[in-house]
């Protein structure tokens, strides 16, 4: 207990972070507390092991990919601003934001959410989801429950439908097009209380 402003003062560059990510002071404070809880050894940053220690995450079939999304460019440390920036992808889209053509997209825009999901598939970051990468994701989500043939046929069918320029891989634009009708805001957002 105590005032939010006292904890807020402990967070470096809180103002900039809030601007960038759109989190309110109350959210930022709660995320900071959560960051500290996850950082059990009080190192000041998080490592992949800290994430794996979260039991509910460890039982998620794509646990490794999600953790990989936090630790971009193979780094092993995650500081609080980076932690918050990635979580900002999951804020619900701000419907009242005025459309300024010159300012960059906010982190939680539809486009950025799609990019986040895209990178879960595209592990080698070449901008395309190859058949091999698609198979890997399918394998992670289904593992022993289906046969290899079924996996391959699912992968083939998916590429057939989404791959418009026939290069046997799915680019980001093709990815975006295939998910045109999906309500990304609902599926890729987490409802933060207050």
């Amino acid at each position: 207990m105590g005032s939010t402003s006292s904890t807020l003062a402990k967070i470096p560059n809180a103002e900039d972070l809030m601007q960038e990510t759109g989190f309110t002071p109350a959210h930022l404070v709660r995320l900071y507390d959560r960051f500290k809880v996850l950082d059990k050894d009080k190192k000041g940053f998080l490592t992949p092991q800290d994430f794996v220690a979260i039991k509910e995450l460890a039982m998620n079939p794509i646990c490794d990919r999600i953790i990989g999304a936090f630790f971009t460019s193979g780094g092993e440390t995650l500081d609080f601003p980076s932690f918050v920036r990635i979580l900002a992808h999951f804020r619900p889209i701000d419907k009242n934001r005025p459309k300024e053509p010159t300012s960059p997209d906010p982190i939680n825009s539809r486009s950025n959410k799609l990019k986040f999901a895209f990178q879960l598939y595209d592990q080698d970051k070449d901008g395309k989801i190859s058949r091999h990468e698609l198979l890997q994701v399918l394998r992670a989500m289904l593992e022993k429950q289906v046969t290899e043939e079924q996996l391959e046929s699912i992968a083939d069918r998916t590429i057939q439908e989404a791959d418009l320029d026939r290069d046997d891989a799915i680019s980001f634009e093709e990815f975006r097009k295939s998910l045109e009708k999906v309500n990304i805001d609902h599926k890729m957002s987490i409802r933060f209380l207050r």
């Binding site: 959560r34 998620n60 999600i66 879960l120 069918r157 998916t158 957002s189």
Partner: protein, 450 residues
């Protein structure tokens, strides 16, 4: 100069002597003798009510102070940061199909990954298990800095009160309690060793019972534990197993001061070992060597043998296997439920307003923990004895364990969780991951076969 000191010296000695005697007499009359006979003067309850009034006053002062300074006093939403979707995997994916490309069939869609991704990130932000292993957050302050998360100096009166509290707790209560603790443990070891010399029979059991109860009662007073026992007609009887939820090592003392149990545990070295060896002389307890603990059949056999002998006391077991923070009951290990005798469930709920009883063994060692306990205001808890349960026809050990767990959780007002208490330390079993994969594949492949 020196001649001045002598009379003062004498005076000082005299004063010390008198105060020591007075203190000791008070100790004897008000604490040890009632403990021996099992009566209570009601001093502890009076103490508890006074403390409550002081805490209320302190909280009011703080609220007023905070309002004046226009600050927020209470941590917002101590129960969660996010609202989680209650929908299951199947529902989510079906919904995605309908709002998606309208292909009708349950085919793989690139958007399926969203479900797993979102659930993964949700658990990073807030998960059920980690919450259970940190001490409960309080809504009012009980003048202990260790439960003071963000209180700053609100008023001088409050700080003075807090300082007074520190003085009382460390200067008066702590030495008193430590003396009592040593007395209690010492008496236990000494008297049980003497009783061990007697031949087995009715006299021995009777004396052993009295001695055990007396020493545990002294220990209870050593912690200033104010316990309310409910439904004592359901107290465990011989030839049964008593199961209870586990919050701290003190649970044992709390239960054992109201009835006699056979303890189960690993053989320790040092002081614990001495106590264990002495206790087992007076009446049979079950102590396992470290190597024997791994052998489940041996453990089960010894427990069943003990239970089959109706002259032996009921066994006390904590099936969660580890200390939980007293807001929930975690998965019960099925071992004790396979033995096939009557189970007497007991629910223990601590009142956190007076002192946090939860032992966070990854944060504090045993000595540190005991020191914390003895320098809190008091340990206030309620014990409910639930009616005995037996395994029903066609019920396996796991289902029986869950049934008992639900009853305990309901009575104690705790949340009933599926999670394994062992998760505090171990990795998640592959089984849980496979469950998710199975569900997902059913939606995909199962749909295609239609």
């Amino acid at each position: 100069m020196e001649s001045y000191l002598f009379p003062f010296d004498n005076l000082l000695c005299m004063l010390l002597g008198i105060s020591f005697t007075v203190w000791f007499t008070l100790l004897l009359v008000f604490i040890i003798v009632p403990a021996v006979f099992g009566v209570s003067f009601g001093i502890r309850r009076l103490y508890m009510n006074t403390l409550l009034k002081i805490f209320e006053w302190a909280t009011l002062r703080m609220e007023r102070g905070a309002k004046e300074k226009n600050q927020q006093l209470y941590k917002p939403y101590s129960n969660g940061i996010i609202a989680k979707e209650p929908a299951s995997l199947e529902q989510e994916i079906q919904e995605m199909r309908r709002s998606g490309s309208g292909l009708g069939g349950a085919e793989f869609d690139m958007s399926d990954i969203f479900y797993f991704c979102r659930r993964g990130v949700e658990s990073i932000v807030d998960d059920e298990v980690t919450k259970r292993f940190t001490a409960e957050e309080l809504e009012s302050w009980n003048l202990l800095t260790r439960s003071n998360y963000n209180f700053h100096h609100i008023s001088t009166r409050l700080t003075v009160l807090w300082g007074l509290g520190v003085l009382i707790r460390y200067g008066i209560l702590l030495p008193l309690r430590v003396t009592l603790a040593f007395t209690g443990v010492g008496l236990l070891v000494f008297l049980t060793s003497i009783i061990g010399l007697l031949p087995n029979g009715g006299m021995k059991s009777f004396l052993s019972e009295k001695v055990h109860l007396m020493c545990y009662r002294i220990c209870v007073r050593a912690l200033t534990a104010i316990i309310t026992y409910h439904d004592s007609e359901n107290k465990p009887k011989n030839g049964g197993i008593c199961v209870a939820n586990h919050t701290s090592p003190i649970d044992v003392i709390i239960l054992a001061s109201d009835g006699c149990y056979a303890m189960v545990g690993q053989v320790h070295g040092g002081l614990m070992g001495v106590i264990q060896r002495a206790m087992v002389k007076a009446c049979p307890h079950i102590w396992f060597e470290r190597s024997e603990v791994k052998d489940r059949h041996l453990v089960a056999k010894r427990l069943s043998d003990h239970v089959a002998d109706k002259s032996k006391l009921p066994i006390l077991i904590f099936p969660e296997g580890t200390c939980i923070n007293n807001t929930s009951v975690m998965m019960f290990k099925k071992g004790s439920f396979e033995i096939g005798c009557t189970v007497y469930p007991v629910a223990i709920k601590y009142d956190p307003r007076f002192g946090e009883a939860f032992w966070n063994s990854s944060k504090f060692g045993m000595v540190n923990y005991l020191l914390h306990m003895m320098s809190s205001w008091a340990i206030v808890c309620s014990v409910w004895y639930l009616p005995p349960m037996s395994r029903e026809e066609g019920e396996d050990a796991v289902q029986f364990a869950n049934r008992v767990k639900a009853a305990i959780a309901r009575k104690g007002g705790l949340a009933d969780l599926l999670w394994d208490g062992g998760l505090k330390r171990e990795k998640v079993k592959e089984v849980f991951k496979e469950e998710q994969q199975k569900l997902y594949s059913k939606v995909l492949v199962g749909g295609e076969e239609d």
